[in-house]
């Protein structure tokens, strides 16, 4: 703490070594840098999606039920899991290991419900005939423009890639939190907080995936219902 206090009075001495320039441990800084690089992965995917969408006739096939209802409940699950994670980190900061474990298990529960709901939603679409490189025949008919331009099959590729990569993040996050919950007595508070950072990041990504993939592809005119 004395080095810390000295560094506070001489800002330039932060870089002299032996102190924490960002006031966070190296693990936490590493997680922040990982989060930055992973956000760039998702940004690139979402911008690639926007690129394809702007240059093609894009189908907007999602019905209110099941797609929008499911994705809204999934959003609720993920937001709630972030809240329980914050409670877990808060409990851990007070030294309440049992409370932290309880809240982290609640987080895992919400995360896994997200994955299960998402897989059911995927199953609906796969049953309709959506594939990474093919659209269902009735979608092609419904969304072909008056000029005869068919909807692009890139819809399936972007949908499964982006939501699939996000689902993989949720799943690996649940495994990560499972390990943290198991070892919470041996871990430092900062380690619990770092797992929380990762989990909130997964939630944050969904805040962009949900409007861009789901809300903007709602079948507003009921083209598929006909």
């Amino acid at each position: 703490m004395s080095t810390e206090a000295r560094a506070e009075s001489f800002p330039a001495a932060d870089w002299g070594g032996g102190v924490l320039p960002y006031h966070v441990g190296h693990r936490k800084l590493g997680m922040w840098l990982f989060i930055v690089s992973d956000s760039l992965t998702f940004s690139a995917l979402l911008i690639g999606y926007a690129y394809l969408r702007a240059s093609n006739n894009w189908p907007t096939p999602f019905p209110f039920y099941p797609s929008i209802v499911f994705s809204s409940v999934m959003t609720f699950c993920l937001l709630s899991s972030s809240l329980t994670m914050v409670f877990g980190v808060s409990a851990s900061s007070k030294g309440d290991k049992a409370g932290a474990r309880k809240w982290i298990l609640a987080t895992i529960f919400f995360g896994l419900s997200f994955v299960v709901l998402h897989l059911i939603e995927w199953r609906h679409l796969i049953h309709e005939g959506l594939r990474p490189f093919f659209l269902p025949e009735h979608w092609v008919q419904a969304f072909t423009t008056v000029d005869g331009i068919p909807p692009t099959p890139a819809f399936g590729a972007t949908f499964f890639t982006i939501t699939g990569l996000h689902m993989f993040h949720v799943l690996s996050g649940a495994v990560y939190l499972g390990v943290v919950a198991m070892r919470v007595n041996k871990l430092k508070h900062e380690d619990v907080e770092i797992s929380g950072l990762y989990w909130h990041f997964v939630d944050l990504v969904w805040m962009f995936v949900f409007p861009m993939i789901y809300i903007l592809s709602v079948d507003m005119h009921g083209l598929l219902a006909k």
């Binding site: 966070v24 922040w32 914050v86």
Partner: protein
């Protein structure tokens, strides 16, 4: 004092619950907007605006960045924003390729081409 000060986790549970409430509210607004008739551009702008607000709430309060040292914020946030904005350089090409593809499809309707002699 030192150990306790370092492990102090700022923000009360009440604050976090209210942030969660705001996030749910913004999500409901997004779902409501999905069924408003408006052009895709306007809709995209509003939705992305709401998403950025939600992301900022999550990063600031849930990820605790608001309570970290400013140097960490300045290391993490600006370069990410700049890198994402740099990716926007691809969009003119996207609009161009849409124009190319669809303009040249129009003059050829259903007419069957005559076979070469």
């Amino acid at each position: 004092m030192s150990a306790h000060a370092e492990e102090h986790f700022a923000g009360s549970n009440k604050l976090f619950i209210s942030i969660w409430g705001w996030l749910i509210l913004l999500t409901l607004i997004e779902i409501f907007l999905a069924y408003r008739p408006m052009s895709t551009k306007v809709m995209l702008t509003i939705l992305l605006g709401l998403s950025v607000i939600k992301a900022a709430l999550i990063v600031a309060y849930f990820m605790h960045l608001k309570f970290e040292r400013l140097s960490l914020v300045l290391t993490v946030v600006p370069m990410l924003v700049i890198c994402i904005l740099l990716l926007f350089i691809f969009f003119p090409d996207s609009f161009r390729s849409a124009g190319l593809r669809y303009k040249f499809q129009e003059p050829q309707p259903v007419a069957t081409p005559t076979p070469e002699p």
